[in-house]
């Protein structure tokens, strides 16, 4: 049996170096095959900062290539999503993109209708790489949640000298959470079969009311807990007060995933131990890349080309003060995608 600590450190090291651009497929003349094309993207809600930034990046990429890209602004209401699909159909869009956590299953009949009208359906930043896309979807920009899960587990293992006692805060109403949590659990078990771990499952709409008390109770019930892993870093704002109020701040550490700016700020202030960042600028370009591949008749990419980067006290200043969605990753992707799309 290999040394688990070495394995963990290897996983971490792989995500600590500056990301390099790794072309997701062959280059193609994007301008040519996207000429006159129209894409409408429906995010789950534009009140979520993550979606706002992702949409900005996608719009920017589209502008570089020069096709019409529209975001359907909405606030987590199914009638608005339906209206968006209808808009895509009536305004003769070519691609309908379901973005940032919106589950295509919630729009089954509408997507079927859109397809019948000749639209192509994509999802962006929704499925985990291990998940099958729904039948109503053509191309998916799947995300490496599983990889993030492994990284979180490795981090907790490595930073506790191999004695992690972990509380995972998940949210299984968000579809990719399931493989995400599972990969944390599996990786932890692989690294340390006898270590304790616990899963607190809180539906998204109840984060504000249930995460804090849930984390508090878990910590009081098991004072040995030394790492809290909220799978989405926006949960941290409820985890931090739970640690504070139970007097566990400092002894119990937080590591998470998403690279949301306010959490990066919390990393800088020492409230959060580590946050796995994912450049949304990069992700937006990668998503548009995948979409264009679909329209240009190229095969789908397996995994959204957007690397995961560890932000901790060592490199947090590179994320900006205050932090942003896009700083600290370098801009290898801009160069890379432009080349890939034969823009330069």
């Amino acid at each position: 049996q290999a040394d688990p600590m070495a394995d963990a450190n290897a996983i971490i090291a792989e995500h600590e170096k500056m990301p390099v651009f790794d072309p997701p497929g062959e280059a193609f003349d994007a301008k040519a095959c996207m000429a006159g094309k129209k894409v409408l993207s429906i995010p789950i809600s534009m009140t979520i900062p993550f979606n706002v930034e992702l949409q900005k990046a996608m719009a920017k990429a589209a502008a570089e290539v020069g096709f019409t890209y529209t975001t359907w602004d909405n606030q987590l209401k199914s009638d608005q999503w339906i209206q968006g699909v209808s808009q895509a159909i009536s305004q003769k869009y070519d691609v309908l993109d379901i973005a940032g956590g919106l589950n295509p299953e919630w729009l089954g009949p509408q997507l079927a209708e859109a397809r019948a009208e000749g639209l192509k359906i994509t999802t962006t930043h929704f499925y985990d790489v291990t998940q099958e896309q729904h039948a109503s979807v053509d191309y998916s920009g799947a995300v490496d949640y599983t990889g993030a899960g492994k990284l979180l587990a490795a981090w907790a293992f490595a930073k506790t000298e191999g004695k992690p006692n972990v509380l995972i805060v998940g949210s299984s109403d968000v579809l990719p959470s399931i493989p995400f949590v599972k990969s944390i659990q599996d990786q932890l078990t692989a690294l340390c079969p006898e270590c304790t771990q616990k899963h607190l499952d809180v539906p998204v709409s109840e984060w504000a009311t249930k995460i804090q008390p849930g984390v508090q109770s878990a910590i009081l019930a098991d004072p040995g807990i030394n790492f809290v892993l909220p799978i989405y870093d926006s949960m941290s704002q409820f985890v931090v007060p739970a640690l504070r109020i139970t007097g566990a701040e400092g002894t119990v550490k937080i590591a998470s995933y998403n690279g949301t700016p306010f959490v990066l700020d919390m990393v800088r202030e020492g409230q959060v131990h580590m946050d796995i960042g994912e450049s949304l600028g990069w992700s937006g370009y990668a998503a548009v890349d995948n979409m264009m591949r679909m329209l240009c008749g190229l095969p789908s990419v397996k995994k959204l080309n957007s690397p995961l980067l560890v932000f901790d006290e060592k490199n947090i200043e590179t994320a900006g003060v205050p932090a942003t969605f896009d700083d600290g990753y370098g801009d290898a992707h801009l160069e890379g995608f432009r080349k890939l799309w034969k823009l330069q």
Partner: protein, 332 residues
């Protein structure tokens, strides 16, 4: 004191500009919105497809609003409506998709679940004499827990296409059938409230419990029926919801609670001002959604939608109050 012939003036004055103004102010505001957005976006906004989608996709909210209007008329709040809706759609998905029941019995089970939850509300409100607000809040929360349990917090898709077809795919004049169901239901409720004895009793109970009791109305029965019917209609809204999306998720339906109350109260300022009424509710729903849709099409940011929604609600009611010389609204 002699019995004399019917005086001519006993029948209503034929036309009262003020009263009609009050009744149709909101309709006018709606038309105004359409004109504005139509002028700004003649192609996309004024397309029939846009309207038909709007009409179709709001059917669920309309039906939910109709559900809560009934206890509001009899003087009770029902905050559990959105939970019943979600429960019903989740039952449909679970039984139809996971357990493979055929859609007919599944719909019946879903409707029955709504009626049962309504009956539970009625039991606590009437047997223990608790304020309806707290009972329905508690029961609603309990039902939310049941939904999470039944669904394991998962979205379940793949609901029978028959249901989907009959709700949203099949159309009349290009508008999904769901809209017409909602319209028919509104007409039925209107008819029952205005033209039947049980409907009158409901109104009396809402306006004066003691008066109704002494006038020989079985107040508890009327209130119980109103809770149960409300549950049933909310469950019907759930059926439409799962037909609309072909799926069920444990949470998104709950967001409809406040919009439904907003529509019910806004609707009570129009058509039949001072009374919760079904066509008023419909107009309110479409007035608000027209604004939101228009703004979204113009590319307004998400926060503008809230500003419009809140602002329009308050301003529409304020205007209708101005028309009626700011007489206090009295729903009890």
């Amino acid at each position: 004191m002699t019995t004399i012939d019917m005086p001519a003036k006993a029948s209503r004055p034929a036309f009262n500009i003020k009263r009609e103004g009050e009744r149709f102010a909101l309709v006018a505001a709606w038309l105004l919105l359409i004109v504005i957005f139509g002028t700004l976006m003649p192609d996309s906004f004024l397309s029939w497809r846009n309207f038909s989608t709007m009409f179709g996709s709001q059917a669920v909210l309309v039906v939910l609003t109709l559900a809560i209007i009934i206890p509001l008329t009899s003087g009770d709040f029902d905050l559990s409506g959105a939970s019943i809706l979600t429960m019903s759609s989740m039952l449909i998905a679970v039984l139809n998709v996971k357990h493979g029941w055929s859609i007919g019995p599944v719909i019946i089970v879903a409707l029955v679940s709504g009626a049962v939850i309504g009956a539970i509300n009625a039991f606590f409100v009437l047997y223990f004499r608790i304020h309806s607000l707290i009972v329905t809040l508690g029961v609603g929360t309990f039902v939310n827990g049941m939904i999470l349990w039944v669904s394991q917090s998962q979205t379940i898709s793949g609901v029978s296409m028959t249901l989907v077809e009959w709700v949203i795919i099949n159309r009349l004049f290009g508008i999904p059938l769901a809209f017409f169901y909602a319209l028919i239901l509104a007409a039925v409720i209107w008819y029952v409230l205005e033209y039947t004895i049980p409907g009158r009793k409901l109104l009396f109970v809402g306006r004066g419990r003691e008066v109704s009791r002494l006038n020989g109305i079985n107040v508890d029965k009327v209130r119980a029926v109103s809770f149960i019917v409300s549950g049933l209609i909310a469950a019907l809204a759930g059926v439409f919801y799962s037909g609309m999306t072909g799926s069920a998720d444990p949470l998104s339906g709950l967001n409809l609670l406040l919009p439904a109350f907003a529509a019910a109260f806004l609707g009570a300022t129009t058509i039949s001002p001072g009374r919760f009424n079904s066509f008023g509710a419909i107009i309110s729903v479409y007035f608000l959604v027209t604004g939101i849709t228009g703004l979204t099409m113009l590319g307004a940011q998400a926060y503008v939608q809230n500003l419009f929604y809140g602002g329009a609600l308050v301003i529409a009611v304020s205007l209708s109050q101005l028309v009626r010389n700011r007489q206090p609204q009295d729903f009890s």
